[in-house]
Amino acid sequence: MTQRPKMLKGNRWWSLGYALSSLKNYPVRNAGIAIILAIGIALPTTVFVWSDTGTRLVVEDYFDDVAFQYVAYPDGYNSYQSADMPDVQEYVDSTNFLEFSSRVSSTIGVLTGESLPDYTPYNMIGLNYIHGIKDMRVIIADNNFIETWAREFDYEGNFTALLPDEVLVSEQFCSYTRQVHGITIEVGSVISMDVIKRMPDPGLSWTATQLNARSLTNLTVMGIYEAKDSGTISAQVMTSILRKNWDPFGFASPVLGLADSVIISEDAMQEGDVGEIIAHGFGGFLFMRASLPRLISMGTDRLVPNLEYFQESILEQFQDVDVKGLRYIWELESTIRTFVASRVLTVVVFPIMIMSLMLTLFTSETSVSRRKGEISALRSKGASFNQIFSTFMWESLFLCVFGFVIAMGLSILMAPMIASSVGLFMFDSAVFTRFLSSITINPVALIIAGAIAMYLPSAYLLHVARRIDVSEVGQPAAMNAEEGAEDASLWKYTVSLAIVLAALVIVPEIIAPVGGFAIMEILVATLVLFLAAYLGSRAMRLVTAKVSSGTSFLLGEKSLYMSQSLRKRKGQFIPLLVILTLTLTTTTMMLIQVTTFESTLQNELEYSLGADIRIECSTKPFNFNETLLQYPGVIEATPVIETWSMVGSYTFFLEAVDPLPYSRIGLFREDSFVSGTPEELLQALHENKHGIIISEYHAKLWNKTVGQTVGVYYGAAEEDESRYYQFEIIGLLQSAPGFGIGATDELVAPTFGSQFGFQAGNGGFAIVNLDFIAQAGGYDGAETFLVDVSCYSDMTPLVETFNLERNTDVYTPTTFDIKSESYSIQLFLSGIQGLTVVSFIMCAIMGLASLALFLGSAVLERKSEYALFRSLGGTKSQVVSMVFGEFSGIVIASIAISAILGLVFGYVMGILTLGVSPFSPVLGAVLTYPITMMLIILSLESFVMIASCYFPARRAGEVNPATALRNL
């Protein structure tokens, strides 16, 4: 009997230690893999971080601006008690939905003092001011409320918690007091007042006993305030009354509202006072501030619906209560929606993301296969398959973690770049800093990033096992079998490339890139980009080889080496060529994409404004046109009457213009009008006062054509009045400057014009004669004027003058502020601009990283070749120039092919980007090739890439023939 032999079971943790030392020993290679992986992870994550942080910031801004989201108060038939307001407060406080709720009461107070006359008997709607009585609203609140409320006011002094002998006063109160008593109240002044606990019934004069006032003396004025916005919910519930104060026949002035008020702390009153005031004063209100952390934890995407749901839940439970609030919430919702919708921009960076993942896979696989010798050595030293496999898996996990961490860092830096982008390579540093300090990373973004990061270990899982299996013990450190020079024909690749590119250009023409189709087409185009880059690289490699062999007069014998070297080693050079081509193509493509979007936007802006200057104002008489014409540089102007109209159940707008001036002022495009040129049709409209130009879409819908009549109901000048007329159709239109698309149903997404506020909504519009509508509809003025100027510099006096006028807005294509007029467009624009810059940086990093990885390993592998050159009598500088020539040949080849591919893909992607944007252009895409910018950026990128070829070339020159050949 023999004992089972003693065997060495192996060290379970050896693979972990070895993986760590291996990572340390090949820092450049591993850092390269981690960075390239990080780029793939960072790009989609950045879009998420940008959108999440942006959403969070707008929500925070909303909460910063709006002190209270809701105010609850008894309906008109109930008192505070009978409406169960204490129960309401108990309920809302129990929900955890609120940061806090505060009961606020208000009543009338009267300014008192030794020199001031007695105010009793007091009548709240009497001519109090002339009798030397300065009354005002006294708001009694707790200090928590006061501190929170401060954000809704501009103030001098302080607007903070109040002591019982302190008071805050409104600016209008001070102004009225100066008028009534000649006293100037300033911060630090001391005032006294009586707080009336039982307000007299309107019209009745009550005695002091009846009023049961609480006298507060020697109150120090801590601050003087004025509400920033008259539309806040506190202003809505603390409304003014119009009262004649001085003269029974004079004008009434607003008094006793929020604007004419003082604020004191509840602590200034005695026990029972507040209850009496709630019952007999202006009543009590329950102000509520929602909890921001709670709302964010419930998901910013659902923030607005959650706010609305809370309001509804109070109304449902308490029948006798009214709840006001959530004013401007639609603006917040629209912004949040745009942020969420902008996540679709991720598809724009798909090419770079896929490129990075491809490169990660390729680099890691190459790295593993280059380590065949090492695997063989380890196996010969007794390492089991599992030990070696887990070594590689540990390495991949570490690289995955490094990649993830780098990606998070990149996302944190790049997301603010997108948010603060105000143009290509232009950033707003204040926005950048604010965004950076408020970075939010959604768990979903983390999960996506994590999933992409796990791509590396997964790739290892699939590839490494195979590599280990094929590595035999005793194999020398991997020496690649000599690869023969490729003898492929050039035309095969060229023809394939031409077919691929032609298909790419034709597909968007056949299938309109709208919504889901656009996303699909972008994804397909991304795949085609890779195919094209591959075919282009194969072709360019042969072209470069051919060119090299034909340059012996320049390069001497080196040309032979270069041309053969380029024909050989396709395993090394093709991937590098593809990567470089892809990075350069993507840069060009994205530049064209973004400038196309910008130009389209500008074109749409000009068209939706309709003229050099567009003035929108409260109704001005028609002769305002004459005033406009007197301004220097103004050539022509026309008023525009816009009124609602109906044909059957179809609603639209009638745009009444003076046809001839409009034909000269309007910035018409070729396809604006369908049945003739704008001049012809507007001339016809001028001649036929009862004519109408309707949209082609409506004409088809109503089965009408030019020459027929159409019966239209339309709004007259007097409210609630309408007219009917059988207009004769004299032309058909697609769109018109100043009014947008003729029929809004034709477009899937809203027009750019509608985002600026210039698209005739509600179905579209038709153009009619101004004279006829003015006369028949009883109009004596217009709210819109279109003005033509001789040159843009002439606009300034006119723009400056009318901008100062109340209720008048002057718009020009050059002064139009997209950010303030359409946050959504601005958001998308800065998104795409920022992403382009980010992509440019990422492409540059990736290009350089792949150059370092590929060329670095190429030099290592070919050390013996260089050593041989040296031993054959080549000088160091000859080797350097030869290798540099070969490597830079690769870069030049990729620049050449990417120039062609970039232009084609830029054209296609420019169109497709508009397809994924949440807006539809009326006029179609304006393709723009920013030649100068492209030249600058590509030259810079190419220069850096070519220059970076020098370093591996120098290393090749430094190969010591003695060492290299000895170790052969």
């Binding site: 060495l8 030392s21 380890l378 089991s384 035999e472």
Partner: protein, 337 residues
């Protein structure tokens, strides 16, 4: 079946056998063709001996080494390892790896050292992989480094070492799990002095001898070099996957035909040494006879055989009539030969 039952099957092997190959075949299959690398190889490696294998390139030397080392599985045949007392072609990869760690050491022409580790770490690596406790490991590595005479260069990266020094490190590395173990183990060397100058090679071979004597380790060396083969206790000639001869001591390539012993394989086949065949004009066949206590082989060509057959006339065993040469039916009675 218990483990002991299983092991008893191999009790036939003598105790001094380290590894035994019995009728081993190795056929490499690719999509298009099959290559027979080894064709019925049988040999036994004895404890404390140095066995050399010589043969032209492609004769199957490396395949045989890998099969002995348990890296490659034999297609047919048995490979016995003394430490397992078992045929390794039947056991799992995991057990094989674990058993190999303190039984087989490898030394290759390319030294198989990791460039990012220093000399000491390279020697230690196999022990680390095997999970040898740190203290034991350190003692062993120190001892081996001293034994191969590289104490001064222990902290040097292997890339800075000379070819001879690298070979020494490779030797130390191969032995790190083999010393201090129950079974003496076997070191498989594939061209260990291939890229060394004769002087350095000589020093390495002396080191082998020294280790062989001090540690009792067996060596199986694949070589082309007479210098190496001359140090062997047994030399095996291999050609086209067949063992074509044994030499009991170190060989001299000029007098191979005088020291060669050929053995019958398990199928009673006897390989013919090609150098002798060449001397005999590459005959197709032999006339073999046993005379005076010795085998006599007379080489013949195919033509000669036909002529001898053609000229032979026979007598019919039925009627006694003579059957002419080249005919097989009796013209008289119709009987067949």
């Amino acid at each position: 079946m218990t483990v002991s039952d299983e092991l008893d099957l191999y009790s036939d092997y003598a105790d001094d056998i380290v590894v035994s190959c019995d009728n081993v075949y190795k056929i490499y299959k690719t999509a298009e063709l099959e290559t027979v690398a080894l064709s019925g190889v049988s040999l036994q490696i004895q404890e404390g001996k140095i066995m050399c294998v010589v043969g032209p390139s492609g004769s199957g030397k490396t395949t045989l080494t890998n099969i002995i080392g348990g890296i490659t599985k034999a297609t047919v045949g048995k490979v016995y390892w003394a430490n397992l007392r078992s045929d390794i072609t039947k056991i799992s990869e995991r057990v094989l790896t674990e058993a190999r760690r303190n039984f087989i050491g490898f030394i290759f022409q390319v030294a198989n050292l990791l460039p990012h580790l220093n000399a000491w770490q390279n020697v230690e690596l196999a022990a680390r992989i095997a999970g040898v406790p740190r203290k034991v490991r350190q003692e062993r590595v120190d001892r081996l480094i001293k034994l191969v005479g590289l104490e001064e260069r222990r902290r040097n990266k292997v890339t800075t070492l000379s070819g001879g020094e690298r070979s020494r490190i490779a030797i130390a590395s191969a032995l790190v799990n083999l010393i201090d173990t129950e079974s003496k183990g076997l070191v498989l060397c594939d061209e260990p002095t291939g890229d060394l100058d004769p002087e350095t090679a000589e020093r390495i071979l002396e080191l082998f001898k020294e280790l062989n004597e001090t540690l009792g380790t067996s060596f199986f060396i694949v070589t082309h070099s007479q210098q190496v083969a001359s140090k062997a206790d047994v030399t095996v000639e291999i050609r086209d996957g067949i063992i074509s001869g044994f030499h009991q001591t170190g060989i001299d390539l000029d007098t191979l035909d005088t020291t060669r012993i050929i053995r019958l394989d398990n199928n009673y086949r006897l390989p013919m040494p090609t150098d002798l065949l060449e001397l005999a004009g590459n005959p197709d066949e032999f006339k073999i006879s046993w005379e005076d206590d010795r085998f006599i082989l007379i080489p013949r060509t195919g033509d000669e055989v036909e002529v001898s057959v053609a000229k032979k006339a026979r007598t019919c065993r039925v009627c006694g009539q003579e059957i002419p040469a080249g005919k097989f039916i009796c013209a008289n009675c119709g009987s067949t030969v």
